[in-house]
Structures are given as structure tokens and as C-alpha cells.
């Protein structure tokens, strides 16, 4: 088992390396010149040269690559030309915002999809079941950016209930940064108004992600549950006099958990990849928006950093699932070791 996990871990490192290499080369074969962009339109050639030298852009590509990889092994993700800070410093500032959004959305999604799937499985063909099928059918075709804007239209422009974007009310002072998670920080600061402001700003981006995930995920959970319900052990459970509730929660759910978990992992990977869109729409100051804004001015170190961080996130989630599977399904253990 440990052996198996080590193998998976090594594989994850390999994937990360490859992502770093590919994004590095892709971003350096660029026709545009970030130094010229940064220097401004009226800058002299000498100024541009100076900036190039400052960021090492005048050196040969292989040399740049070697120094980048050496830096990477020390956890140095390079310099951002736009913010004039090290990318690691920037990430430390922006990552908590992204994580907070992802964690909140994913938690809500898990609870919602679970309860919906269970209700649908308990009454196949019922109202919730039908609603899920409809949501799935239309929902998979809804572009996430359009959904976000539609929610903005409704809750900001029409109803004036929720802010259109950002992470915290502009006119108010944010609680002192402790964890970087505003929900926690405002609780630590003991400020209910800060917490309310945080939650209000979080509501729309989180809702966008949750709806998008529900459209795909609930169908998978429902299918897994309904399939498990037709297994022979369900008849055995009935045969010893168990009620439908115990059968569903103790027997069926436990077995449906591994297919649901697999689907969930895929969903999480999918979500990491598309969080950029949500951050752009809601002006959410996370790493997606950071990389996107840097990308706009040909500043590519943050883009590579985003690639590495999001791949690392994906690899970690997969590793976590590999650890969880044998706990959920005892049959996996004997296969894994």
C-alpha cells in the first residue's frame, strides 16, 4: 500500500515537472516582448534593454530554462514583471482567496448533490429525480461565464441584493490578515459586519460554481445510487428485516461512495481548471485573476505558476483519493498492495 502511494506520488511529481517544462517553453516562444510592453510606448531602446537584462530576458532560452528550473527546485517561481514582486509572494497573497472560494463552493456542492441524489434515489421518477434530469440536460450546456453574468444581472442589477464582484466591500476596512481566509479572519476579528460583507461577496461566485458542478455531478451520484440499489446484498438486507432507511444509508450509500468519489475527483480537477473564468467575471482577487491579468501584459511567470499550482492541486486531490479508497472499500486494499 505504501509502495503504491509512493509510486503515485512519484508520478505526480513527473506530471508537475512536465507541466512546468511545457508551459515554460510555450510562454517563451512568444512574438510579443514583455519588456517593451512594460517600458511603455515612448521608452527608448536603452530602457527596454535595461528591463530585459533585469528580468534575464536577454539571455539564451536554454540558460533561462536552466535558471528557472533551478529556481523552481528551491520553490522560486520567478519574478512578475507586472507587480514587480516575486511570484511566490504574490501567490501567498492571492492563493487564500482562490482556496476560500473553492472550498466553500465545493462543500456546498457536496452537501447539495448528496442530498439531491439521495432524495432522487429514494423516489425514482419523483419530482426531485425529474428536476435533476432537467438540470443535467440543460445545465451541462450552460457556459459557466454566462451563468455568472446572468446571476450578476439578477442579484446585482435587478434585485440589488448582492455585490457584483470583488471579495470585500471597498469602503470598509478588511479584518487584519491572519489566515488569508476572510471568513475566518473576520470571525477572529470578532466583526459580524465584516463576516456578512465577506459572505455577501462570496455568494455569487460560489453559487455559479455550485450550479455548474451540480449539473454534472448529481447525475453521476444518482446513477451510482440507483445502480447499487439493484444489488443482491440489498435483498439480503431486506431479508433480515432492515428498513429502507437503514438499507439506504448503511448499505447502499457506503457502496456508492467510491464511484461518487471518483466522479468528485474529476469534478474537482475540472473546477480548478475553470476557476479562472469565475474569478475574472467576479473580479475575485485569486490566483486565476492574478495570472489572467499578468497574461494580458505578456507577464508569463504567474501563468506558469498557476499551471504548476493547479496541477499540484489536482495531483494532491488524486493522492488523497488513493488514500481514501481502501478506507471506503475494503476490497481495494488487497488490489493496491
Amino acid at each position: 500500500m505504501v509502495n503504491f502511494l509512493l509510486k503515485r506520488f512519484a508520478w505526480g511529481i513527473l506530471v508537475l515537472l512536465l507541466v512546468a517544462v511545457i508551459t515554460f517553453f510555450l510562454s517563451r516562444v512568444v512574438p510579443a516582448d514583455p519588456a517593451a510592453f512594460l517600458a511603455g510606448q515612448n521608452a527608448s531602446e536603452a530602457t527596454v534593454q535595461k528591463i530585459r537584462a533585469e528580468y534575464g530576458l536577454d539571455r539564451p532560452l536554454t540558460e533561462q530554462f536552466v535558471s528557472y528550473m533551478v529556481g523552481l527546485s528551491k520553490g522560486d517561481l520567478g519574478q512578475s514583471i507586472r507587480t514587480r514582486r516575486s511570484v511566490s509572494t504574490d501567490l501567498a497573497q492571492y492563493l487564500p482567496a482562490t482556496l476560500e472560494l473553492l472550498l466553500v463552493s465545493f462543500t456546498i456542492y457536496l452537501i447539495a448533490s448528496f442530498s439531491l441524489a439521495v432524495t432522487a434515489a429514494r423516489h425514482p421518477g419523483g419530482f426531485v429525480d425529474g428536476a435533476i434530469r432537467l438540470l443535467t440536460m440543460v445545465g451541462t450546456g450552460i457556459p459557466v461565464f454566462w451563468l455568472g453574468m446572468a446571476l450578476q444581472f439578477m442579484f446585482f442589477y435587478k434585485l440589488h441584493w448582492l455585490p457584483i464582484g470583488a471579495r470585500f466591500p471597498i469602503r470598509e476596512t478588511a479584518p487584519p490578515v491572519v489566515t488569508g481566509f476572510l471568513i475566518i479572519d473576520s470571525m477572529l476579528a470578532g466583526s459580524p459586519s465584516a463576516l456578512l460583507g465577506t459572505l455577501k461577496h462570496l455568494a455569487l461566485p460560489a453559487l455559479t460554481i455550485v450550479i455548474n458542478l451540480l449539473a454534472v455531478g448529481t447525475r453521476l451520484s444518482r446513477a451510482a445510487l440507483i445502480q447499487e440499489q439493484s444489488r443482491l446484498y440489498v435483498r439480503t438486507a431486506r431479508g433480515k428485516g432492515l428498513g429502507p432507511r437503514v438499507i439506504l444509508y448503511k448499505h447502499v450509500l457506503r457502496n456508492a461512495l467510491s464511484p461518487i468519489l471518483t466522479a468528485t475527483t474529476m469534478q474537482f480537477g475540472y473546477m480548478i481548471s475553470w476557476v479562472i473564468l469565475v474569478e475574472v467575471i467576479f473580479d475575485w482577487p485569486g490566483i486565476g485573476l492574478y495570472a489572467y491579468q499578468s497574461f494580458q501584459v505578456f507577464d508569463y511567470s504567474p501563468v506558469i505558476a498557476l499551471a504548476i499550482v493547479s496541477t499540484a492541486g489536482f495531483v494532491l486531490i488524486n493522492l488523497l483519493m488513493d488514500i481514501l479508497y481502501p478506507i471506503i472499500d475494503p476490497r481495494v486494499q488487497s488490489v493496491g498492495s
Binding site: L232, Y233, R235, H251, R331, S334
Partner: protein
């Protein structure tokens, strides 16, 4: 009489008319006996067995009467039947691996039958599960109780299933093809175990099988089913000695052949049993019957007494000596 089944019919709802699977069968099971229902797949034997415990598929429709200890069971609400399952009627099935939940330890699943009926809880239930595993002759029962179903052998799994079925002390055990998935030696051990438990616990057993060999070993009385109907019913010895229904006779012949040459998958009955929805007119067996005549094709034979047995046949074996010699 512990169980009385009268005119039991089971069908499946389809657009354009229900599909009959079991057609007005009646039988009685006596206290303490081993009653065997034998038939090929599609004969409705398992469906009949399952319906006694109310475990027929939800898509089926049933009519008639099933009286267990003077109480009507058919079409009772599931919540009422639930209190009886495990407590008064135990069940074991053909595929012990599939029938056990793969993610819970065996002992836990056995103890669950006690907890479901409030007979014991927590550690007491767990302890009784281990005792029950010991009673079904499982060596090292404490270890097996903590094992998962995939970690123990096929024979052990079926023993664990028996422990689960009997732990809450039912008086009737319905065993649906309990030996089919097992090899010959284990099969014999299992039948022996059932017989011993029957004596110890004063059990009535309904054994459902397609295997004539099993019948010969344990049956007190037999019900032969064919395509949803009773072909022959009565005392096991009488039927085994002189089968009167051509179908029973054919089953016995094929059993003898397969015993003589176990490798040979020879079937003494020509053709295959009809599937659901394609039952022929008249006597359901007539297309495959060597003794069939014109009346068999048009008229359903009524069940009538013939000595120690009752059978549904217009032209029983032995009523025509020439044909009997041929068969």
C-alpha cells in the same frame, strides 16, 4: 401446517397485459419438514419462495393467499412484513458473495439481523454473531466475524449467510439454491449442516433447487414446478421411486445421467424451458413432452390425486405401459 399457499399468481406489469410468471399454485408446508421446490430456471420457483417473505420484485403483481402460522402475508404493507423477515422467516440465497455487503465485516452483518429486531445491541449482538458463526461450524469464528466477505472462502460465506438467516431464531428457513455456487464436497457439507441445524432448532425448511441430487438427499416432500405451474407434488420417496409426471421422470433421468457421467452436460429433456411471456397453451410442458397428445395442446390438466402424490397431467407415466418402456 406452518405455511399454506393458495392460488398464488405472480405476474409482471407490461403495457398490453401482465406477463404471468406463476399461475395459481397451491401447496402446504408442514412444521419441521424439508419441503423442496424443484424446477428449471424460469419455472417461477424462486419467485414463489421470495414472495413468501414479500421479496418479490416491486414491479410484480400478486394474487391468492399465503398464510404463515395462520396469518395472511400476501400484499401486506412492507413495514409489517419487515418485522417478520429474519425474526420468523430466514432466507439464504444462491450467490453468497453478491448477497453479502462487500464493505462491512461479516460479523457486523450477522449482528445486524439481531439489532434490526431489537433482540440485542452493541457488544451483545456482536458476541452472539460470533456464537452463531460457531454454531454453523466455522472454525475460528472470532476472526471470521471481523473479516470482509471477499476475504473468506465460498463455503464460509454461505455458512455466514446461514448464520445471518438463523440468528434471530426464525422457525422457517427459505433456502434459494443455496448450494448451486458451491463445489460437490462443500455442497454435501452444507446440506448436512442444514439438516443438523434443522434438528437443533426445530426448523422448517423450504429448499428451492434445480438439482435432483439435492432433492434425493434431504427432501421430505417435493413440489415440481414447470413454467409457473405445479407439475407434481407429494411425498419425496413416492415421487422419486415412481415419478408420474413425464417432466419429473425426465428430470430424474437427466440427474441419473449426469451422476454417471458428471462431465457430460446431457439433457434428457428435448428443447428448452419456455421463457416469461412465451408459455404455450394447454399443458405448458406439451412441446417438450414425449407423451403429449392432442388434449395436452388445448386443455390445462387439473391437479389430481394419484396415491401419495398429486399431479397435473392428462397422460401420466405408467398409464400406458408401452410408452413407459419407451421413456
Amino acid at each position: 401446517m406452518i405455511l399454506s399457499v393458495r392460488d398464488l399468481s405472480i405476474g409482471f406489469r407490461r403495457i398490453g397485459g401482465d406477463l404471468p410468471a406463476v399461475d395459481k399454485i397451491s401447496f402446504d408446508v408442514r412444521e419441521g419438514e424439508t419441503f423442496v421446490i424443484i424446477g428449471e430456471s424460469g419455472s417461477g420457483k424462486s419467485l414463489t419462495g421470495m414472495s413468501i417473505a414479500g421479496l418479490q420484485p416491486a414491479t410484480s403483481v400478486t394474487s391468492g393467499s399465503i398464510r404463515f402460522k395462520e396469518r395472511e402475508l400476501l400484499n401486506r404493507p412492507d413495514a409489517e412484513l419487515r418485522r417478520m423477515r429474519g425474526r420468523e422467516i430466514g432466507l439464504i440465497y444462491q450467490d453468497p458473495l453478491g448477497s453479502l455487503n462487500p464493505v462491512w465485516p461479516v460479523g457486523d452483518q450477522i449482528a445486524e439481523a439481531l439489532r434490526a429486531h431489537g433482540l440485542a445491541s452493541g457488544a451483545a449482538a456482536a458476541r452472539r454473531a460470533v456464537e452463531m458463526l460457531d454454531r454453523v461450524r466455522i472454525p475460528d469464528p472470532a476472526r471470521v466475524a471481523t473479516a470482509y466477505p471477499h476475504e473468506i472462502s465460498g463455503g464460509m460465506r454461505q455458512r455466514a449467510m446461514i448464520a445471518m438467516a438463523l440468528i434471530a431464531g426464525p422457525s422457517l428457513l427459505i433456502a434459494d439454491e443455496p448450494t448451486t455456487a458451491l463445489d460437490v464436497t462443500i455442497k454435501a457439507q452444507m446440506l448436512e449442516l442444514l439438516a443438523e441445524l434443522q434438528r437443533e432448532m426445530a426448523l422448517t425448511i423450504i429448499l428451492i433447487t434445480h438439482d435432483m441430487g439435492v432433492v434425493a438427499e434431504v427432501a421430505d416432500r417435493i413440489l415440481v414446478m414447470y413454467a409457473g405451474r405445479v407439475a407434481e407434488i407429494g411425498d419425496a420417496d413416492a415421487i422419486m421411486r415412481t415419478p408420474s409426471h413425464p417432466y419429473t421422470a425426465a428430470l430424474m433421468t437427466s440427474a441419473m445421467i449426469s451422476e454417471a457421467e458428471p462431465k457430460q452436460q446431457l439433457n434428457a429433456i428435448v428443447g428448452v424451458a419456455p421463457g416469461l411471456g412465451s408459455f404455450p397453451d394447454g399443458c405448458h410442458f406439451h412441446p417438450r413432452c414425449p407423451l403429449a397428445q392432442d388434449d395436452c395442446r388445448s386443455f390445462v390438466p387439473p391437479l389430481r390425486r394419484l396415491g401419495d402424490v398429486a399431479l397435473a397431467c392428462h397422460h401420466p407415466v405408467g398409464s400406458d405401459t408401452a410408452l413407459m418402456a419407451e421413456a
